[in-house]
């Protein structure tokens, strides 16, 4: 069974942060390491070269014998309102002291009251006498989970004291914004922070965060959409552009997610207030905030309340004119120029990033009020980040058809080294289609000529394709596919003249489900530059080869009879209805062939059932390929949100085990489940030549900033041109492999070399990236499970 234990004190913890959410973002209570005997003593690896690192973690110190005293507060007669409860309690500041944290029922104090039970008497404004009973319930040591949560709340208080603005979970400094007028964007510099128990110390992990805000209201955006798309497509365009975005309002300090647009209502419509009376939005905003709504024809935005009060799940109506947009839309993310302009401000190189962080710590040290608050609680922070050592593990050798290559570790890329070398397995293109529009006739020919130049050295045999000219309409493409695609076709190549999604979606849908054949879509624009055409053609040839079932290169995998699984999820944010889990599993010893399945499910459904079926199918295929069942299985699980670890450990892992059991009573392979997390707050900096640099690929960190209750480690596997490299966090939540941590780390790093769409090292193990690609394709374009006929190929690249 899985060793899950929620540390005592957490279940009944109800000290609430603003917003009253009780989600445990840091997976505090999940202790998985204690069930893995072989890593009790040590979970560190040993191979590689030592590297001096520093990070963005700062030690939190408390005075000796520090403890936090937790009291339960109750009122007689019972008082409902939280504010009243606080007001009544704090009439007794001489007894409880000036320093306190109170959420309405639980009171935290830095000192112990004289008696275990203290009775206090207050009187309300109505002259009602109230007896308040304050009872000591807990004396918490600095490392208790409750204390950790408490530190986080106190730290947020400090940020507020520094006049930083809370937006979502983080705090930002509004007084010194960077404005990017070309795109009407504003960037606020801020900080993410979390205080956790790390390997040896409680530390603050702080990082620079940027908030992109937009200098326009939702109504402005609607107006410009209207002028762009016209009346007919206006509502659709609004829904597409706006739903899912986070807005700020003019009148309060809250953020809302736009979940729907209500076109049947407008500011003149009435709503029911909590006291039961009806009022129009116009009246309400005038009365409550003195705000005049100028446009009375605008629709109303609907935001679902995530938090459930009682059992009622309410929604909030918002007026577009009073809402400002935050963040980027998908459309904006695809805008190369915009992202480039943004990157200048948001991608900070290591030195600058640490400098900005230093500024925050400086504010904290300098601000009197903040220092006073910290002193009163008996806490303080180091103002220098922790330093420690990591290891740079050896680079991998790349094997391709008998040849062996080393890559330059600085670039983590072997495009040049493997150019002109035959592939491990090349698929012939005897019969294939090339579809293009009249305008792109030249481009199509250029592509063809270039492919003829690059494919022979790869060992790909290619015949002339059937060249088909179509009108630039979705239906035209589809008609050609229906007429010309037959089962002896190896691959279909479509040249598209714009990145409009509908055409791409229709092609992919047809060729993934209706008539399963590998397909390759190419944007005409990418082929239009003569200086890059050979590079582009090479990439396309490699990609097509993989889609048809080819293999490119391999690295040495010392483990035998091993199946590697990758899982990632895609959540459809626009319609919010579907989630897709991509599942891939290796099929051969060299881990160059992959089986894939995916699970499409509606909201609220658990993932695990579908994954069980996938694993069964994967094992069937593995045994078909290898004439036996794998004796080791490694699952790399990506797409796990903050606070979901518990679910994974409690439900998903048992399902894997169940599934393995169901194969046969005598079958008990060694199973390792590793949770992969790309979005982590930790950053590492190499101290090189007196300055700070990004650590080189292959840097492994498994001390100091890891968590004592987990078998976890960080790997920096990729390189970045600008900004700071983000390490990937690996958390081994289940492991019967008996492998040394060093070997698990090495295997993980090896797998980061195996993603065929990139001749270099990537940020996650290849199976995760494949699973991501698959889930993304299905979630974005196909919306149902692709044909099983394609399942042994990388058609989703």
């Amino acid at each position: 069974t899985i060793g899950l234990q929620v540390s005592s004190g957490l279940q009944d913890l109800s000290l609430r942060d603003r917003g009253g959410r009780r989600r445990d973002f840091h997976d505090l209570g999940v202790n998985t390491r204690q069930a893995m005997v072989h890593v009790q003593e040590s979970k560190t690896g040993f191979s590689g070269k030592i590297i001096k690192l520093t990070t963005n973690h700062f030690r939190l110190t408390s005075r000796p014998q520090w403890a936090l005293y937790q009291y339960h507060v109750c009122y007689s007669p019972e008082m409902e309102a939280r504010r009243l409860r606080s007001a009544l309690l704090f009439q007794h500041e001489e007894t409880i002291g000036k320093t306190h944290a109170f959420d309405g029922s639980i009171l935290f104090l830095p000192k112990k009251l004289e008696n275990k039970v203290t009775e206090l008497f207050s009187r309300t404004r109505n002259g009602e006498d109230v007896k308040i009973t304050v009872t000591l319930t807990n004396e918490l040591p600095p490392t208790s989970p409750t204390c950790l949560q408490f530190y986080n709340i106190i730290f947020r208080r400090l940020l507020k004291m520094l006049n930083l603005q809370q937006i979502g979970r983080n705090y930002y400094n509004p007084s010194d914004p960077v404005s990017i007028p070309n795109h009407r964007l504003m960037v606020w510099l801020g900080f993410t922070s979390s205080i956790l128990q790390y390997e040896e110390n409680i530390m603050l992990c702080a990082d620079v965060s940027h908030k992109v805000l937009r200098g326009e209201t939702v109504l402005d955006t609607m107006h410009s959409l209207h002028s762009q798309v016209g009346e007919e497509r206006f509502r659709d365009a609004c829904a597409k552009e706006l739903i899912g975005l986070i807005v700020l309002t003019k009148y309060n300090n809250r953020t809302y997610r736009i979940d729907d647009i209500d076109w049947d209502n407008n500011p003149k419509s009435t709503f029911r207030k909590s006291d039961g009376s009806e009022m129009s939005f116009v009246e309400y905003y005038k009365k409550q905030y003195n705000i005049e709504i100028s446009d009375w024809m605008q629709p109303v935005l609907i935001s679902q309340m995530k938090r459930k009060r009682g059992n009622i799940q309410g929604s909030v109506a918002l007026i577009p004119e009073l809402c400002s947009l935050t963040g980027l839309t998908d459309k904006m993310r695809n805008d190369f120029n915009m992202m480039k302009d943004l990157a200048i401000h948001t991608r900070l190189p290591p030195e600058q990033r640490q400098r900005e962080l230093g500024r925050l710590l400086n504010y904290i040290q300098k601000d009197d009020n903040v220092q006073k608050e910290l002193r009163n609680w008996g806490l303080s922070f180091d103002n220098k980040s922790v330093s420690f050592t990591g290891r740079i593990v050896q680079g991998e050798k790349i094997f391709q058809s008998g040849a062996m290559f080393d890559y330059n570790p600085q670039f983590a890329d072997w495009t040049k080294e493997t150019r002109g070398v035959p592939l491990i397995r090349s698929m012939p293109m005897d019969s294939w289609l090339l579809i293009y529009t009249r305008r792109n006739y030249d481009v199509a020919n250029t592509l063809l000529q270039s492919l003829f130049k690059v494919t022979p050295s790869m060992g790909i045999h290619m015949n002339r394709p059937s060249m088909i000219e179509v009108d630039d309409r979705t239906e035209a493409y589809l008609r050609v596919l229906q007429q010309r695609v037959t089962s002896d076709i190896n691959i279909v190549v479509c040249i598209l003249s714009s990145s409009r999604k509908d055409k791409y979606d229709a092609i992919k849908k047809y060729l993934c489900t209706d008539f399963p054949i590998p397909s390759q879509c190419v944007l005409a624009r990418t082929l239009s530059k003569p200086q890059t055409i050979m590079t582009v053609a090479t990439k396309i040839a490699l990609q097509m080869n993989c889609k048809m079932g080819g293999e490119l290169w391999s690295v040495e995998i010392p483990l035998k009879q091993v199946m590697i699984v990758g899982i990632d999820c895609y959540h459809d944010t626009v319609s919010g209805k579907q989630s897709i889990a991509g599942f891939v599993a290796s099929l051969n010893q060299s881990v160059t062939r992959w089986f894939s399945r995916c699970v499409v499910q509606s909201r609220g459904q658990e993932l695990v059932d579908g994954i069980k079926t996938c694993l069964q199918a994967a094992l069937r295929h593995w045994s078909k390929w290898n004439k036996s069942l794998p004796s080791r299985i490694f699952v790399y699980r990506d797409g796990v949100g903050d606070g979901q670890l518990n679910t994974l450990v409690n439900y998903e892992v048992p399902q894997f085990l169940d599934c393995l059991k169901s194969i046969g009573t005598d079958y008990s392979p060694r199973l390792t489940v590793i949770v992969v997390k790309k979005r982590v707050g930790a950053r590492f900096f190499a101290e090189i030549g007196g300055g700070l640099r990004n650590p080189p690929p292959g840097t492994v960190v498994d001390t100091v900033v890891t968590r004592p209750e987990w078998y976890d480690f960080f790997v920096v596997s990729q390189t970045v041109k600008n900004g700071c490299v983000a390490p990937t966090h690996y958390n081994v939540i289940y492991d019967t492999s008996q492998l040394k941590p060093d070997h698990v780390q090495r295997l993980t790093y090896k797998l980061c070399h195996m993603y065929y769409n990139w001749s270099g090292i990537i940020r996650v193990p290849a199976p995760c990236q494949y699973a991501h690609k698959l889930a993304f394709l299905v979630g974005q374009s196909i919306h149902r499970e692709p044909s099983i006929m394609l399942s042994d190929r990388l058609y989703y690249l």
Binding site: S86, F90, E93, K98, R123, R125, N126, G127, E128, K160, N163, Q165, I167, Y172, P174, S175, P177, S179, P181, N182, R184, M186, W188, L213, R214, G215, T217, S227, L248, T249, K250, Y251, N252, N253, Y289, N290, I291, S324, F336, N337, K340, R525
Partner: protein
């Protein structure tokens, strides 16, 4: 009054909206009517009245004073500017300050206010403080209007739970006659006129007890004597500032400049975008490619510009697009922000890429095409 009679009123005396809201609404109505620029709330407690007043667009200076710093601190962050206030700075300027101190002491930071409110304040004052209060508020601060509200003790018999006073901290509660005589005497002494009113109507048949909360509104009878009087008595600050928030405003050059630059570039982008899509249509015709001009008419209604003058047309030359500043200035939003063309030029100087003679915003388009 006998017990049964009281019981009967227990049900009836429930104010809707609650009394504190009625008091706040009363102040708000007064602000709407007299449009004071500087308002101070004495005994501001949890700042709820100040929070309500910050939305009143006539007010440029808001100050709060309380004897208890902690009660102010509890909610003072609600008085901070919101993210949106930074994103769309308002036309008016607004500064909100909270002071910790006593109404029995004079501090120069309280000078020059138009309206001073003392809502449910005086009944919390010790006798010695109450004695000094008129001199501080009416003599020293001397605003044009003072609002004072206090419980009417005659009403207490209708409030079932009230035994002596409505709140344990009350030092006294006055009858209508007591309050009015104090107010009239104070007004006479400091040359103010006073009007009495209140909120919280008594139930029918009980009209003679008067409002639950009695209010006196004092108007200064003499005109502001100006700075001269105040500067004669330089004095030390005795209040401690616990909070200060300066709202972003277009009156502040920094925010105005940002807003203007943003609007200018955005407007220029729209014009360029329109121009380029037209330009691409024409670009098959090589004769017209070198120098291309577009009549403004085709997009003037969409952009809602004010005037079309000669030599205001944007044009493409080589790899550059030029959008004349005059054209940009004619757009209502830019126009309203800057006021004059000279101001526009001054604000964007050095911040926006202009043509060599400085008359037009210049974009390089070659660069852009490369990226796509």
């Amino acid at each position: 009054m006998d017990k049964n009679f009281k019981e009967e009123f227990r049900q009836i005396i429930k104010f809707e909206p609650p009394l504190y809201k009625q008091r706040h609404q009363f102040v708000k109505d007064l602000v709407e009517k007299y449009k004071p620029k500087k308002v101070a709330d004495l005994g501001c407690a949890d700042c709820s009245l100040l929070w309500m007043l910050k939305f009143c667009s006539c007010i440029e200076v808001l100050a709060g004073l309380d004897i208890c710093a902690n009660v102010m601190r509890e909610k003072m962050h609600t008085l901070s500017p919101l993210p949106v206030d930074y994103l769309q700075p308002s036309e008016r300027s607004l500064t909100v300050t909270l002071h910790h101190g006593s109404v029995a002491h004079k501090d120069p930071c309280m000078l020059g206010f138009d309206l001073v409110t003392c809502i449910e304040l005086i009944e919390h004052l010790e006798e010695s403080e109450l004695k000094k209060f008129p001199e501080v508020v009416f003599g020293f601060m001397a605003p044009s209007i003072v609002v004072i509200s206090t419980p009417n003790s005659e009403f207490n018999c209708l409030l079932p739970r009230v035994t002596l006073y409505r709140h344990p901290d009350h030092k006294f509660e006055w009858s209508q006659a007591e309050f009015q005589s104090w107010a009239l005497e104070t007004a006479r002494c400091y040359n103010y006129s006073v009007e009495f009113t209140g909120v919280g109507h008594p139930p029918t048949g009980m009209e003679k007890v008067g409002f639950c909360t009695q209010i006196g509104v004092f108007f200064r009878k003499y005109p502001q004597t100006g700075e001269s009087l105040q500067s004669e008595k330089p004095m030390e600050a005795v209040y401690k500032t616990v909070f200060k928030a300066v709202y972003p405003s277009l009156k502040d050059e920094k925010y105005l400049q940002n807003a203007v630059i943003s609007e200018v570039i955005f407007t220029a982008q729209i014009i360029k975008h329109r121009l380029m899509s037209k330009y691409e249509e024409y670009s098959d015709n090589p004769e017209r490619k070198s120098k291309f001009q577009l009549s403004m008419d085709c997009f003037s209604d969409y952009l809602g510009k004010l005037v079309v003058e000669k030599n205001m047309e944007p044009f493409v030359s080589g790899n550059e697009v030029y959008i004349p500043l005059r054209t940009i200035f004619s757009f209502p939003k830019v126009n309203r922000l800057c006021g004059t063309f000279e101001k526009l030029c001054k604000l964007i100087a050095g911040k926006v890429t202009l043509s060599s003679d400085g008359s037009a915003v210049m974009f390089n388009i070659e660069h852009e095409n490369e990226e796509n």
